[in-house]
């Protein structure tokens, strides 16, 4: 027998009140937790993929679309750009490094990106099995692609035009998997990398030669040497169909738009949490009326004021902690469901289920507000006039 057991028995003795308080708190905490963990994981993934890319060169169009397609591989490309014009930008003295890319084909929804070895190096992707490609129509594939499709080194496949569609298959050229990357937790995990030459050759008849002046890239990732690059380079490409997009700015804008929805949801969740604490308060306060005699009785049996105080405070705290943990578990179930859909649609996943620092803070706040909600009922319990309560019995 101890106070915890009595508190717990009292909580269980009022299943309806308990369920209401727990449900409200669990849902409030669950939604906030889910938003927080989603934001943190998305931000982590976004930051990881954006690292050291200062600018993206691509066809004119929506700069956000250019960033999403070139950096995150989640949107359609804005178009193609002329290789020779692009190379002029790549050789600009303000540019430290440039990685050209050609994409727009897929194999069973996994995107095929024609690029150089620098692209893999940039994301820290190392070859785990086989080799990095060296010839056209050789491919080195990301870990997720290999795992999901069950592909091994030596397997072959045809590419298809577009990013999702599998109807327009380029049966003229056959790709061979020569290597598989180790998991890098970047966009590379979801990609099939091949020399740019493969992409060009797939789109021409065998034997045809295309002059360099007609060759095209889809986008170029740029790292600047001089901060002035951001100001000057757009001027140098004014007369072309090319444009420059800045990932940091576009992603900030995206976050702002996203953030508004997130904020609204957070506000609703916060209101639910507040209501849940009011519900804990009302439930404790109401039960005091019924339990007044019981508490007076405990005092006659030798229970000190502090024991009675602890008993009531504890009941509120148990509800708060329990509600928090149910909410935490709910948020993770939500995360897994969301992650499943994201993987289906964007080949991104959020699999880290551990608590994030903000949630520890939330836990502390929950304990604090939980004690606050049970403080008044606990004080009331201590102030019960034993003699009067028993006489009125």
């Amino acid at each position: 027998m101890n106070l915890l057991k009595i508190s717990w028995a009292n909580i269980r003795n009022k299943p309806l009140n308990t369920t209401l308080s727990l449900l409200l708190l669990a849902f409030g905490v669950g939604i906030i937790s889910l938003l927080l963990v989603m934001q943190s994981q998305l931000k982590e993934q976004f930051d990881r993929n954006i690292k050291d890319i200062d600018m993206v060169l691509g066809a004119k169009g929506s700069p956000l679309q250019l960033i999403l397609s070139a950096v995150y591989q989640v949107d359609a490309p804005t178009g193609n750009i002329n290789m020779l014009e692009a190379r002029r930008v790549m050789k600009h003295p303000y540019i430290a490094d440039a990685i050209p890319m050609a994409y727009g084909d897929n194999y069973l929804k996994y995107r095929i990106v024609g690029t150089t070895e620098k692209y893999a190096q940039h994301y820290g992707a190392v070859v785990e099995e086989g080799n990095f490609y060296s010839e056209p129509f050789e491919a080195t594939i990301g870990r997720s692609v290999a795992d999901e499709m069950g592909m091994k080194v030596g397997d072959t496949f045809y590419s298809a035009h577009g990013l999702e569609d599998n109807t327009d298959v380029h049966t003229n050229r056959i790709f061979t998997v020569v290597g598989i990357f180790a998991e890098s937790h970047t966009v590379v995990d979801q990609l099939i990398l091949t020399p740019i030459q493969s992409i060009w050759d797939v789109h021409t008849e065998e034997g045809d030669t295309i002059p360099d002046s007609e060759r095209e890239y889809t986008a170029v990732l740029l790292k600047k040497k001089n901060p002035l690059a951001v100001m000057t380079i757009p001027n140098t490409i004014k007369d072309t169909n090319m444009s420059i997009a800045l990932p940091a700015i576009e992603i900030n804008r995206l976050n702002e738009n996203f953030g508004l929805g997130m904020k609204a949801l957070s506000a609703i969740a916060l209101i639910i949490v507040i209501i849940s604490f009011i519900s804990v308060f009302i439930s404790l306060f109401n039960s005091l009326k019924d339990r007044k005699y019981e508490l007076a009785l405990m005092r006659t049996m030798g229970a000190s004021r502090s024991k009675v105080f602890t008993l009531i405070l504890q009941e509120g705290l148990i509800l708060s902690v329990l509600g928090f943990f149910i909410g935490f578990v709910l948020s993770r179930i939500g995360l897994l469901i969301l992650s499943y859909f994201m993987k289906e649609n964007f080949h991104y996943s959020m699999n880290d289920l551990g608590p994030i620092p903000m949630e520890w803070l939330m836990f502390i706040i929950t304990i604090f507000v939980g004690s606050l909600a049970s403080l008044l009922p606990a004080i009331r319990a201590v102030q019960i006039d034993i003699s009067k309560t028993l006489a009125d019995g």
Binding site: M1, R12, M301, R305, L390, A391, G393
Partner: protein, 223 residues
């Protein structure tokens, strides 16, 4: 070394309860003056009074739930009116078992858990076996794990008696223990109460207006 002989009656003759000149005034309400009385260790005594004579007030004074405005109450040579509120809580838990007019329990706990509650709350060692023995003495052992609400009124009053006994109190105070019961249950409960108080060597004080009990007790005080 010689052992000094102590007659066994010495302890019996010591006074368990002694009240002198007790007065109590409610802040907004009646004032009471109670007659002086005392009860020897192990004795059994009836305090008889009509409604409004301050029976419950007196019982609460004896239990230390109220502080007398005037006069002194000594329980086992301790003047309870001098104890601080937390010392009093402790003293009450250790020495006094109280039985109320209607039995109340902690509804969320089983009969047996309600019985060990006084042990826990007064800081004594928790002894389930002992609680079970007392339940057996009252032939209620089969109700140990039932919630008290499911018992009949008579059974509830017997459990309340068991609860008052579980800490081996020196003094048992009963407030109208029979008024809610019919004749048969009333005489059973009173018999039980007297027997059990005697077995545990406790002093028994019953406060009541129940005239049915009048002839059963030699020692009576009219309020």
């Amino acid at each position: 070394m010689t052992l000094k002989y102590v007659p066994s009656t010495t302890r019996k003759l010591a006074r368990m309860l002694q009240c002198e000149g007790i007065e109590f005034t409610y802040s907004e309400g009646p004032a009471f003056r109670f007659p002086d009385f005392s009860c020897e260790n192990g004795g059994q005594m009836l305090l008889l009074g009509q409604s409004g004579s301050g029976k419950t007030t007196l019982l609460h004074l004896l239990a230390g739930l109220l502080q007398p405005t005037k006069g002194s109450i000594k329980i086992d040579e301790t003047a309870v009116e001098n104890l601080s509120s937390s010392k009093l809580d402790h003293f009450r838990g250790q020495n006094i078992g109280i039985i109320f007019q209607t039995a109340h329990f902690i509804d969320s706990l089983s009969v047996i858990d309600n019985l060990i509650m006084p042990q826990y709350l007064s800081g004594k060692v928790i002894d389930r076996k002992k609680a079970m023995v007392i339940l057996e003495r009252l032939s209620l052992q089969h109700k140990a794990n039932v919630p008290p609400r499911q018992l009949s009124v008579g059974e509830q009053q017997r459990i309340a008696i068991a609860r008052a006994l579980v800490n081996d109190p020196k003094l048992i105070l009963a407030d109208e223990p029979t008024s809610a019961l019919d004749d048969k249950n009333a005489s059973e409960v009173i018999k039980l109460l007297r027997e059990q108080a005697e077995i545990s060597g406790a002093t028994l004080i019953i406060v009541t207006h129940d005239q049915r009990l009048k002839d059963e007790f030699e020692k009576r005080v009219e309020l």
